[in-house]
Symmetry: C2
Amino acid sequence: MMNIDASAMRLLNRASVLRYIRDHKLTTRIAISEATGLTRATVSSLVETLLEEGFVDEVGYGASSGGRKPVMLRFNADAAYSIGVDVQISHMTTVVCNIRGDIAYKNVRRLLNAQTGQKIDQLSLLEWIQTEVKAALAHVPPSPHGITGIGLAVPGLVNFTTGFIYHLPNLSISNWGIREVLQEQFALPVYVDNDANCGAFAEYEKRNVPKSSIIYVNAGIGVGVGLILNGQLFRGRDGLAGEFGHMTIEENGVPCSCGNRGCFEQYASEQSLMRYLEELQIHVSPSAEISSILEQVIYESYLGSEKYQFAFERLGTYLGIGMANIANALNPDEIVLGGRVSMAYKFLSERMISTFKQRAISQNREIPIVMGYVNGVAIGAAGIAMNESLFASPVASVG
Amino acid sequence: MMNIDASAMRLLNRASVLRYIRDHKLTTRIAISEATGLTRATVSSLVETLLEEGFVDEVGYGASSGGRKPVMLRFNADAAYSIGVDVQISHMTTVVCNIRGDIAYKNVRRLLNAQTGQKIDQLSLLEWIQTEVKAALAHVPPSPHGITGIGLAVPGLVNFTTGFIYHLPNLSISNWGIREVLQEQFALPVYVDNDANCGAFAEYEKRNVPKSSIIYVNAGIGVGVGLILNGQLFRGRDGLAGEFGHMTIEENGVPCSCGNRGCFEQYASEQSLMRYLEELQIHVSPSAEISSILEQVIYESYLGSEKYQFAFERLGTYLGIGMANIANALNPDEIVLGGRVSMAYKFLSERMISTFKQRAISQNREIPIVMGYVNGVAIGAAGIAMNESLFASPVASVG
DNA sequence: ACACTTATGTAAATGTGTTAAACTATGTAG
DNA sequence: CTACATAGTTTAACACATTTACATAAGTGT
């Protein structure tokens, strides 16, 4: 509950103007004034500030409608960059993004030893993150504001405010204060968040519908969900919101590692795909590690193998059930399927959507279900860092 | 995306100060200044305004800690009143509340004909609402601001912004623009909202933890859920959020009127209690209408009848499953059980809470589950009207 | 008594958006 | 080509709110 003074007021109005320019390819001071309700004088003043800051460019004149030609204004998406790192079990993706989330540099590195199936340990992971960030920093294009921050997406439980990692189940890492280490080394603000949250943020930014609610279903080894509600990431009491993966969808169903039975995650994850394959008595090479079996099954499905496709249809059915539950619960504007499982979108989407329409209450049946952007999680991590550094409101609870 | 000018700024800071005073029994200008970050001069100025408006009183001097005695300030909860109407199938409750939600007047009227089981029709309902509101208006105590608005809680689908009722399934009412009628007749702002939302709002206001997240599970004939997320009612795309009642908890479970199978509502509502009684071969008088069977079973349970208690235990089990799902989904600060079913709290809470602890992921197991306040829905309806009329932010998205 | 501390009020300075008018650039009509 | 109308931009006076600095009030401790 912070107070507002004159400078906070100007920052808020400046943000209003900047948002408007960002959301319109080309615009004029007059248009901004009409849209925001600010007077033309104020808009001129704020635009001047933004021009000086480099966030906005004047790009020639527009067509006249019977008078002086307007000066066209354009958002300079390249005024600043941020780095996003998406750490997964099998690999990590590092990107450099501009303000709009366009990728200027990208690198993917494998973390899992494909032969031995050996996972990376905590120290080696830190070293790889440091190496990758260094490489990314070397590829940041010159810009007025340079690099504003580093966002780190991890598959597990994090306290976003403190940047402390509680637990990454699939990496066997717990209680890790990685933020301080990176922050000190790179002298940049570092933000650590759950991967599903990052994915959700990226989708929200791309769609760019103010105050909308977007659900990002990150289906991989497990299922995590990122929630954008009324245009804001909802993290819950302990930053734990979105654990829809442990929602019971079958009272006496398959036992789950969380102690419960019939969790969504046991029916709609990469792990559950393995179970379906077993149940269908489909043999998969036991030497290959989990993450590549999915890709193998996708490959087989592309070749037209019906029995593999059948496994994906089961997965799609359960994704549909879970998404219907989520839609009924939150009545969002859109649901996005992300994570490794979304690679099989082609083979599971039909069943997923038909089940969704069958299970959701009638008013929710038309909520669009789409596939997530490639590299969404890494882009979102960069976006969160950008957002916190550049657009974070001076006033708590002011969007 | 509205702009902020000087007067909006003052309103926001005024709201900050008022909230602080409201949330502390007795306080001083200095304490407000330190808590809000506003300078002492500004606080003095804002407090003066609030004194003039009657929202705050000076009540003598506090103890000195080595200097001038501070003037003690107290929130005047009786500076304004609002009316709340809770329309249920069987009865309606009308209350007059002060700003804090204390009841100054209350009246309950039966709507359902106990003999015939005949439900009330739309026109009669309107007439009753008008009669009840008139009676309430006559009982409003004198105050600086008088009556600020009327809140109407209904069991069904509403567009809060327009006040248009889409559908009240258990009253067989659809597409009803009741807001305009009442607004014109009483020349007061009228707000129409879903009953679960009103219940959630009342619980949030009573607990009064800023930015907290509270889930109100309204279990009656059906199950509706009201969501307070980060201190704000979350309504979703179409005002439909909170339909956890139609969350699948059993893939091939009991068919539901929504077209789905295994909906939560089919296992944790008053209706499902009837089914449990049947399954347990417990005979209940077929002439009595639904709403009184619940009360009858509660009565029998109080007498110590184990078989009736067993039915409640089943209900409790499923409430626990559903609440675990909700807790995992949203990681709230608290879960509240409201609605008619909560009358049986004594008989179902133990099983409900143990099931919850068993099903929720470990970090969510300690989330408190409590029983809702009596008359919570009506108080919440009044509270929403009060809030919209007095505290609604001049700037979109500012809490 | 005196110095110090705490609480509150007052007046000038500063910063912001608004309003209204002046200014600039451009197009259209005669 | 000139006069006029239109659209966009800038400037100056003004209103409002917060801050800063100082003054005042009223207690405590030595």
